[in-house]
Amino acid sequence: MHFGAQLAAIAFALIVLLLVFEMVRRRYLHERYAILWLGAALLLLVLAAWTQLLSTISSAVGISTPSNAFFVIAFAFLLLLLLHFSAVVSRLADETRVLAQRLALLERDQRGWDTEAGADTRPLPIEQDARTGDTARERVRPR
């Protein structure tokens, strides 16, 4: 790998390391997810700094330029990270669904809409927030 490219790769890996660390420190990132990014950054750092390892790997899998091997490995690692995050998003979606269901049931129990005479079953009016343009449903209690 070209010396300039090597330096750039090392610098980039170091920046990622520091950034992840700072994000954990400021509590923008849980340790759980930081560990993956720290692992990725460390892997890139090792590959960038240890040219012998990179050329061994690239010749072993038949890639003529070591820098291409570097990209392949980085890409593979990023794919795995993305897959992991898809799994995490799926879990979050499940958790949100459960929360919404529990909340809806709780609300129904608290308001007793099923027992109150003449429960209002009309669709809830949708009000638009003039400032943000967000729509919010406002609950109207049955009279």
Partner: protein
């Protein structure tokens, strides 16, 4: 919310502990009569909640599994809401002896500067259950590091047998680590100038059910806690102080 008649609460976090939670509660009712008992059912898929309620404990059911940190923090919030002076934490798997809560309570009441008292299995001369050597090594490594950081000997930083006073309850209700929280919690206490002490206790092998720490997760445990300690050291405050930006906020930017 209304203050409770009793000022002592014991929180039992339980995840699929249907096989042992009844025994734990019975033992608490027998040996720790002054304590109200609340079981935090951390999204169990077995009969943990039903068994706990049948045994006469108050039960809070989390809608899904939050992990030990989230479960115990639910206990802190409950204790704070209901105005308890002291809150104990006892594992739902029967590792801890209810009778030894009295010793913890005695220590924390004798010294009002203490905010947390922690049962340590390594201070006791009686040899109870010993964890496998690999886990003990990990515990001792953290114990060594923590002792240096907080400037007082800590022998069992992973122990979940703890008693907290109002100040510690308030702190941890505000912020408590997500997973494998015990080691980090000691550092948080230190960062907030809260004091803790250890008391020798005996621990048993878990009754039934599965430990949350499998072999595969041990490595994650070590790395996560090490990172948390390292980062915790570099924070000015380990938790969000009043009037700080909200920990969950739409306006956060790096």
């Amino acid at each position: 919310m209304a203050a409770s008649a009793s000022s002592l609460l014991v929180v039992v976090p339980a995840y699929n502990e249907g096989g042992s939670v009844t025994k734990v509660i019975d033992s608490l009712h027998e040996h720790a009569k002054d304590f109200d008992v609340i079981v935090i059912d951390d999204g169990s898929t077995d009969n943990t909640a039903a068994a706990a309620a049948a045994a006469g404990a108050e039960v809070v059911r989390l809608p899904f599994n939050l992990g030990i940190g989230g479960a115990v923090q639910t206990g802190f919030l409950y204790a704070l809401d209901h105005g308890y002076d002291y809150m104990a934490q006892v594992d739902g798997d029967g590792q801890h002896e209810a009778a030894e809560l009295a010793a913890l309570l005695e220590v924390i009441r004798a010294d009002p500067t203490l905010d947390m008292v922690c049962g340590s299995r390594f201070l006791s001369h009686e040899s109870g259950y010993l964890a496998p050597i690999s886990r003990r090594t990990g515990i001792h490594l953290f114990a060594f590091a923590l002792s240096r950081i907080v400037g007082q000997p800590i022998t069992d930083p992973t122990s979940g047998f703890r008693l907290y006073n109002r100040r510690a309850i308030t702190l941890f209700a505000r912020d408590y680590p997500h997973d494998y929280p015990e080691v980090e919690a000691v550092l948080m206490l230190h960062a907030h100038r809260l004091r803790m002490a250890e008391v020798p206790v005996k621990m048993h092998q878990r009754g039934a059910g599965q430990s949350s720490i499998t072999k595969a997760r041990s490595l994650y445990y070590m790395v996560k806690v090490s990172l948390a300690l390292l980062v915790g050291l570099l924070r000015r405050h380990t938790t969000v102080e009043p009037a700080d930006p909200a920990p969950v906020s739409a306006s956060r930017r790096l």
